[in-house]
């Protein structure tokens, strides 16, 4: 997932979608230098890591952003981070004591 976001184009697509409004490929291509094919390809990458969901609406696909995987990853890192804080605090009193 981090790797999927480590690309400027995909990051900008996520930024466009993060307002919560589902958008079509045409809307996402508008105002960018990318072709529809390129945008579609990037959206599929985001879909694979579950950051983006698509659904059919009439004749087109609408894409929307799902923040949950990001929040989960953030929370997980916070948890591991907290464990390290505790371990390093114990190390500190161990070597300084």
């Amino acid at each position: 997932m981090f790797a999927a976001l480590g690309d400027e184009t995909r990051l900008s697509l996520v930024a466009k979608l993060s307002g919560g409004q589902p958008r079509s490929i045409a809307q996402l291509t508008e105002g960018s230098r990318l072709t529809r094919q390129a945008v579609t390809k990037h959206l599929r990458v985001l879909e694979r890591v579950a950051l983006v969901r698509s659904r059919r609406s009439g004749r087109e696909n609408l894409f929307e952003f799902d923040p949950h995987p990001l929040e989960d990853a953030r929370k997980y890192l916070d948890l591991v981070s907290e464990q390290w804080d505790q371990a390093l605090a114990r190390l500190k009193s161990f070597v300084e004591g």
Binding site: Y76, L91, F94, E96
Partner: protein
């Protein structure tokens, strides 16, 4: 968003003292709360028993990567790999690095853990449950006790 953790901590102790606390398996075990079976050897598995209350049944395991005296100690492991029924060996581990630098007042320790990108999402969920599980179980015990007593 980053897929690594970095911590910097100043220790008021000579670098040789900190190095020993990190790389002597008995001393490491003291503050890391794990009873290791033997010394750290690069390229080899270090194994021991967690002595953290509530996790005594869990085997702690890491693969030692680098031991560069008073500079760098690193290992790979599976953070929160604490489900005895699960095989973690097929998953990509994270890399933990301890780097030391001498300072005026002692030693600067820089800890990094990287590679979280590769952790399966259900493993993340498991970690939340584990972290929360201790208390949930305690509450349940109290509940059961009260129910029996009344």
């Amino acid at each position: 968003m980053s897929d690594r953790i970095e911590k910097r901590i100043e220790l008021k102790a000579p670098i040789s003292r900190v190095w020993r606390a990190l790389t002597d398996y008995r001393e490491f075990g003291e503050w890391f709360r794990v009873k290791l079976e033997g010394p750290f050897v690069p390229g080899q598995i270090a194994r021991g028993k967690i002595i953290h209350p509530g996790y005594e049944h869990v085997v702690w395991q890491a693969v030692v990567q680098k031991i560069e005296p008073e500079r760098l100690f690193s290992f790979t492991w599976h953070p929160y790999g604490i489900d005895p029924k699960r095989d973690y060996s097929t998953e990509t581990p994270t890399l933990v690095e301890f780097r030391l630098e001498e300072t005026k007042n002692g030693t600067l320790l820089v800890l990094t853990e990287s590679g979280f990108d590769k952790i399966p999402s259900d493993r993340r969920a498991e970690a939340f449950r584990m972290n929360d599980g201790g208390w949930t179980q305690q509450m349940k015990n109290i509940e059961d006790y009260v129910a029996r007593a009344s």
